[in-house]
Amino acid sequence: MKSGKRMKGVVISKPIMYGNIATELLSRKTDHTHKWTVFLRGPNGQDISYFIHKVEFKLHETFVNNNRAFKGPPYEVTETGWGEFEIITKIYFPPASGEKPISLYHMLKLYPPDAPGQSWPKGKPVNNFFYDELIFSEPTEEFFEMLTKDAGGPEIPLKASGNQVFSLEAEVAECKRLETAAVQVTGKHDEYKDRVRTAEAELAILRRDIAALESAS
C-alpha cells in the first residue's frame, strides 16, 4: 500500500552533472562571440528523467524567454551570446514526492582560463562542468519506488571518456589527493607548532635580557 509517509532514515543520493560547453563563433554575424549550451544530465549520460519532473533554466534577462523549461530530456539550452552570467537551474520533482524544487547556481563560462604561456587553440570548446549529488532524505514511499527504479546502467562511469568527465576513477584520484593534502596539512601543523614554541621560548629569553639590560642602563 503506497502511502505518502516518509521513510525515516532512508537517504538516497543521485549523481548529476551540470554546467555548460561554450565554443567560440568563428564567423561573427552579430556581436555574439560564443555559442554555448547549458545542460543538466547524468554523469554517465543515463536517463535522469524518472525522478525529475521538470527543469527550468533561468538565463539573463536580456535573453528572450529567459526562463526555459523542459519536461523531458535532453535538459539543455543552446544559445549564442557574449557575456558570462549566473544561470539558475531549477529542478522540480514529481508531485508524488512532495519535495520542493531545488536550485543550482553556476556561472556560464565562455572564455578559456588564463593559462600563462599557453594559448587556447581556436575552436576548442570551453567546458565548465560540475558534479553534484542530489540527496533525497526521508523520501515518501511513492517517491522511493520511483527513485529505486532501474536506472539502466551504472550512474557513474568507471572511466572518464568524452564529455563524461566525472568517473569513479576520478573520484578515487580526488580522494587520494585529499588524503595527501590532509597529511601535508598535518605535517605543516606540526611545523607551525614548533615554530610557535621556539618563538615563545626565544621571546621569554629576550624579554628577560631586555629587562635586565634596561634596569642596568
Binding site: S13, T148, E171, C175, E179, A199, S217
Partner: protein, 542 residues
C-alpha cells in the same frame, strides 16, 4: 534684526534704503541715568570698641569697629577654640592599670608626658620636639631617647588601659545598660589603637617614597603602565590562548590520532531496497563518532572542545556489531594496522522478503570508509576501513537502522551534497579557498571551496580537510605574529647592548639565571622577569 522689505531701488546702498523708508525704527541704546538708591532707613552709628575673648586667658582687650546698638556677647571666633582633654588619672588608677603597662616609664615621666600633652594639645610633633628642652622637664627619672613613636605609644596605651578600667568600673547594672553602650567600649578602644612597629615602618616607607630618585620614579611608572596593559589585554590573551589550544586539540582529534578497529565493508552489488539500505555496517567506537561530531560541529569552531565531549556522550554507543541490510562482503585488503571483521550480513539479505534488484550505485548510502571517518569511494576497490560515525534511527519496519551521522541530521527533503559541506566563516573564506587552490583541490569557478566531484567519500574527506585547514591558518597567523615580535625584541636588545657597551652587557647577561622554557609558561616568565627587576630596584632604594 528686523526684516527690511526687499524693494531694492537700483543704485542705492543698503543703509540709504533703510533710511529712506520711514517706517523703520532704528534701535538705539540710550544712556540711562542711574539714580542713587534710596534705602528708606537712616545710617547706623558704628563705634570703636574694646572687646574681650573667652578663648584667651590673659584678659587682653583688643579693639574693633562695632555697631553702637549691638550687644557684645563673645568674640565671634572664640567658638573655634577647640580644646582636647588628655587623660587625667588618679593615683589609684595609675597604680592599678597604668603602672603595670610598661616598666620603662616612671611615674614622673608619665606625668610629664601628660602635662606636655595638655600644654600642647596632643600635638605630638611639638611635644616630641620640646620634650627635653621644656622648662618643666624633670631632671631625673626620665629616659633620654624617647622617639615620637615611643611617646605616642605610651599615651595610647595609657588611654586604652584607662578606658578599659573605667568601663569596667561602671557601677551600672549590666542588664540595664542599653546595647549601644556595650559596643561603645569596643569603639573607643578601636580609636586608641596604635602599633608602634607599623608606624615606624609606615614612616620608613614614606621616607623612601619621598626620596625616590628620578630614574626610580620613571621605572615605576613604566612598570605600572606595563602591568595595566597586561591586565587590560589579559582577557583577550587568555581567550586567544584557549582558542589556540582547543583548536590544536580539535585538530588532533580530526586527524584521527587513534584509529579504531575498522570494519571491512564493501559496497554491495545487490541491495535490497525494502530494507532501507542506508543501514549498513556498524560503527567503530566512540572515538570516530566523537571526532566526526567534532568535525561536523559548526564552521571549524574551535571552541567546541566541550561539544566534542558532548557528542561523545550522546552518540556514545560503541561497537555492538549491529548489522543490518546492505549486504556486505568483505574484500580482504587492509591498510596496514587495520583489523578485519566481516559481518555476515549476506544472510540478512537472503532473509528479505522482496526480490532483490540490481540497483547498482543508485542507493549509495553509507559504505565502508577510509581512515576512521570517511566514506569509501563508490566501488572503492582497494581500500576499506572503518565505518563513519553513525547514529541509530528507529524505524518501524526494520527496527534500528544505523545511519551515518552526516546524513542523520538532514531533515526530510532534497539537498545538494555540495551544499552540505560545513560553512566557513566569511573572514577565512578567501584564505581557505586559496589554500585549497594551491593544493589543486578546489573546483574552479566557485564562490566557496568545493571539491571537484562531490561524492560522499570525497565530501567527507574534503570536509575534514577544511576543518583542519582552519586551525592551521590560525596557527600560522600566531606563528607569524610571534616571530615578528621576536624580531622587534631582538632589535631592541641590540640597541640596548649598543647603548651599554658590549662587554658590560655580556657581563650582565651572564649573571642572569637561565630561563626555563615551557610552552604555556611564557607569560609566567615575563611576570617573573619583571618581578625580579622590580626587586632589584627596591633594593637599590633602601
Amino acid at each position: 534684526m528686523a526684516q527690511k522689505p526687499r524693494q531694492k531701488a537700483p543704485g542705492m546702498s543698503r543703509e540709504l534704503t533703510s533710511l529712506y523708508l520711514e517706517n523703520q525704527s532704528i534701535p538705539v541704546v540710550l544712556e540711562q541715568f542711574q539714580a542713587k538708591p534710596k534705602f528708606g532707613t537712616k545710617a547706623e552709628r558704628w563705634v570703636w570698641r574694646a572687646f574681650k575673648s573667652s578663648a584667651r586667658d590673659d584678659g587682653l582687650a583688643l579693639h574693633h569697629w562695632a555697631k553702637a546698638n549691638e550687644e557684645y556677647t563673645d568674640y565671634y571666633y572664640a567658638r573655634f577654640n577647640a580644646k582636647t582633654n588628655p587623660y587625667q588619672y588618679t593615683d589609684e588608677e595609675y597604680e592599678k592599670c597604668i603602672e603595670p603597662l610598661d616598666k620603662g616609664w616612671s611615674r614622673t615621666e608619665t606625668d610629664y608626658l601628660l602635662h606636655m600633652c595638655r600644654q600642647f594639645d596632643l600635638r605630638f610633633i611639638i611635644i616630641h620636639d620640646r620634650y627635653y628642652s621644656h622648662t618643666d622637664c624633670p631632671n631625673s627619672g626620665i629616659e633620654s631617647n624617647r622617639t615620637l613613636e615611643d611617646l605616642k605609644d605610651r599615651y595610647y596605651a595609657i588611654g586604652r588601659a584607662l578606658t578599659q578600667y573605667r568601663a569596667g568600673e561602671d557601677s551600672r547594672d549590666p542588664e540595664d545598660v542599653p546595647l549601644q553602650t556595650t559596643n561603645k567600649l569596643a569603639d573607643d578602644l578601636a580609636l586608641l589603637r596604635f602599633d608602634k612597629d607599623k608606624e615606624l615602618e609606615r614612616k620608613k616607607y614614606l621616607e623612601a617614597l619621598f626620596r625616590r630618585t628620578k630614574e626610580e620614579i620613571e621605572e615605576e611608572e613604566l612598570l605600572t603602565a606595563e602591568a595595566r596593559r597586561i591586565e587590560a589585554n589579559e582577557r583577550r590573551l587568555v581567550h586567544e590562548r584557549e582558542v589556540l589550544l582547543q583548536s590544536h586539540a580539535m585538530f588532533e582529534e580530526a586527524t584521527g590520532s587513534a584509529v579504531g578497529p575498522p570494519i571491512k565493508v564493501q559496497y554491495a552489488q545487490t541491495v535490497d531496497p525494502s530494507l532501507a539500505s542506508p543501514a549498513t555496517t556498524p560503527t567503530a567506537e566512540a572515538t570516530p563518532k566523537g571526532r566526526k561530531g567534532a568535525a561536523a560541529d559548526g564552521p571549524g569552531d574551535p571552541a567546541s572542545a566541550r561539544t566534542i565531549k558532548r557528542q561523545k556522550s550522546t552518540h556514545g554507543t560503541p561497537a555492538p556489531l549491529r548489522v543490518r541490510a546492505g549486504s556486505v562482503a568483505s574484500r580482504a585488503q587492509g591498510s596496514p594496522g587495520v583489523k578485519v571483521r566481516s559481518p555476515s550480513v549476506s544472510d540478512m539479505v537472503r532473509k528479505s522478503a522482496s526480490p532483490s534488484r540490481s540497483i547498482a550505485p543508485s542507493i549509495k548510502s553509507e559504505q565502508g570508509n577510509l581512515s576512521p571517518v570517511f566514506g569509501d569511494p563508490t566501488f572503492g576497490t582497494e581500500i576499506h576501513t572503518v565505518k563513519p560515525a553513525v547514529v541509530e534511527v528507529e524505524t518501524a519496519e526494520v527496527g534500528t537502522i544505523v545511519v551515518p551521522q552526516r546524513d542523520a541530521r538532514l531533515g526530510p527533503g532534497v539537498f545538494l551534497r555540495s551544499d552540505k559541506l560545513h560553512p566557513i566563516p566569511k573572514n577565512k573564506l578567501d584564505a581557505v579557498k586559496q589554500f585549497m587552490s594551491q593544493l589543486a583541490l578546489n573546483s574552479p569557478n566557485t564562490i566557496w571551496p568545493r571539491p571537484v566531484m562531490a561524492t560522499p567519500a570525497v565530501c567527507d574527506r574534503f570536509d575534514s580537510l577544511q576543518s583542519i585547514i582552519i586551525p592551521l591558518l590560525d596557527f600560522k597567523k600566531t606563528a607569524d605574529k610571534l616571530e615578528t615580535e621576536v624580531q622587534v625584541l631582538r632589535a631592541r636588545k641590540r640597541m640596548l647592548v649598543n647603548d651599554i657597551g658590549e662587554d658590560k652587557a655580556e657581563e650582565i647577561l651572564n649573571r642572569l639565571p637561565p630561563v626555563s622554557t615551557s610552552t604555556a609558561g611564557a607569560r609566567h616568565q615575563r611576570k617573573g622577569s619583571s618581578a625580579s627587576s622590580r626587586r632589584k630596584s627596591r633594593d637599590s632604594i633602601s
